[in-house]
């Protein structure tokens, strides 16, 4: 069987969509890829409220939150970042995948998003990144 990371750390990732867009083909493919890479995925339908995402991420103690945004919903990701910090989840990484215009990518990174994945990114880039950052995130969460 698969041992996903060193020291048997199995990353736990929340894959979700906020805002109004409902196109979820991409987020489902990413969720399946994370599962097939040996990770545990909490997958939600689209249109989650920001408060619900924070609650879910808290209860499931996820390492990474993956936001799929194909329309312009990434524009409210900064509000999510604020809500996460206020809930004490500053050590939960947020990655954004989908259609993010160049001008907005820096805005997201400045707001605290860990990385933006554009269309055409190979799935392995996403799974490798999650695997890479998880041990550190766990260590930081354990220290608080």
């Amino acid at each position: 069987m698969n041992v996903p990371t060193a020291n048997n750390v199995i990353p736990k990732v929340l894959v979700t969509k906020i805002g109004f867009d409902g196109h979820d083909r991409g987020s489902r493919i990413v969720a399946a890829a994370l599962r097939d890479a040996g990770m545990e995925v909490i997958y939600t339908p689209p249109w989650q409220e920001i408060a619900t995402v924070v609650k879910l991420a808290t209860e499931e103690d996820v390492d990474v939150i993956g936001i799929s945004s194909l329309a312009t919903d990434h524009l409210i990701v900064p509000k999510l970042m604020v809500a996460l910090r206020e809930a004490g989840l500053g050590d939960t990484a947020v990655i954004v995948g989908g259609i993010v215009p160049d001008d907005d990518e820096q805005m997201l990174l400045d707001a605290g998003v860990a990385r933006v994945f554009h269309p055409g990114s190979p799935l392995s880039a996403i799974t490798d990144y999650v695997r890479e950052i998880t041990p550190d995130l766990r260590a930081r969460r354990a220290a608080t």
Partner: protein, 417 residues
Amino acid sequence: MTARAAQESAAAEPLDAGQPSSLPAGLLAGERRAVARAISRIEQGGREARALRAALQPHLGRAHVLGITGAPGAGKSTLVHALLGELLARGQRVGVVAVDPSSPLTGGAVLGDRVRMGEHGAHADVFIRSVASRGHLGGLSASTSGIVDIMDAAGFDTVIVETVGAGQSEVEIMRVADTRIVTCPPGLGDGVQAIKAGILEIADLLVVTKCDLPGAEAAERDLRDMLHLRAAGTEGEWQVPVLKVSVSEGQGVAELAQGLQAHAERAGRGRRLRAPQAPIASDEFGQRVARLAAADPLARLLGLSCSSGSEGMATVSLRVGGQHLNFNGSCHGGVIFALADTAFGLASNSRGVLAAGIDAHITYQHAVRVGEVLTASANEVSRSRRLATYRVDVTNDSGRSVSSFTGTVFLDAAAST
């Protein structure tokens, strides 16, 4: 200390003098982040988990723990939603533990999506945690019971454990609960047969879901018949009711909540803390099964993967690829046979006595297509000095039964594996 805790601490290593034995701040107050992080610590296992569990002991016994299981497609998650609504309306704080099997091939899992598909997940008085089986050989019930303990100590009034696991782990998880509910959908006759052996024996309430559909009466009758066959009264006087619920028609949910309340008062609440648990499968058998599985050339050739094994039991999986198909484009019956037979062979050889197959039968219920993941679960049905019989259920990744296999082995006490 409870009987179960005594049993566990006897098996555990002694704590260091310097280990903190107090609980994390905020946990007893039910603070969301504290509860979640404590659960993660239990999941990770090891010394910290054991220390945490020991520290929880004085704070247990207030919550009513429900276990809900049943065949896939039984409308279980709809029922859980409806029950959540009912309990919230009664002013309760409810914790939910949703248990899902990890992929036997990759070890990963998509969790809890069915439970989160409803309004209640966002309610402040609801806490939902998804747990993957991770192929643990019996360790799953330990961590699930630890999670339940945390929710109990955190002050939740009801904790619901929901599982759709396969084979033995389902039974183990149900033992974690005070009140055990088994659901069964109506129709087509295979509903009741689809319930794994061992589950009905421990059910406290039986629920026919979607009872507005045809076949509900028949399912109810089948369940009552099975109740008569059960071994008499190990649970004292509690009469197992068969309830009919239709969430879409708004029927039966309140009655179910009443039934749960009645069981809690009569026998239920805290029962899990009083009864000794069934022994967790020993590592010795699991290790033997793993060793044998790795030494099987045909298993390697076909791509069969053994995901768990214990005394008299084994689970083997396969993703159906193009090379497994017959001329009709569906999975070759010989491949399904080989899958079931491999699980049979591993289960029957798990104790170290050489077991040689002398008879085997298979039925194919449903065609299998490329891309499906099949899981064969072998369980021992009977055993004597010379002979043993096993049943193997083969299911696909939707949980549907595609094939059933029975096999008999001759045990050669002179030879060992």
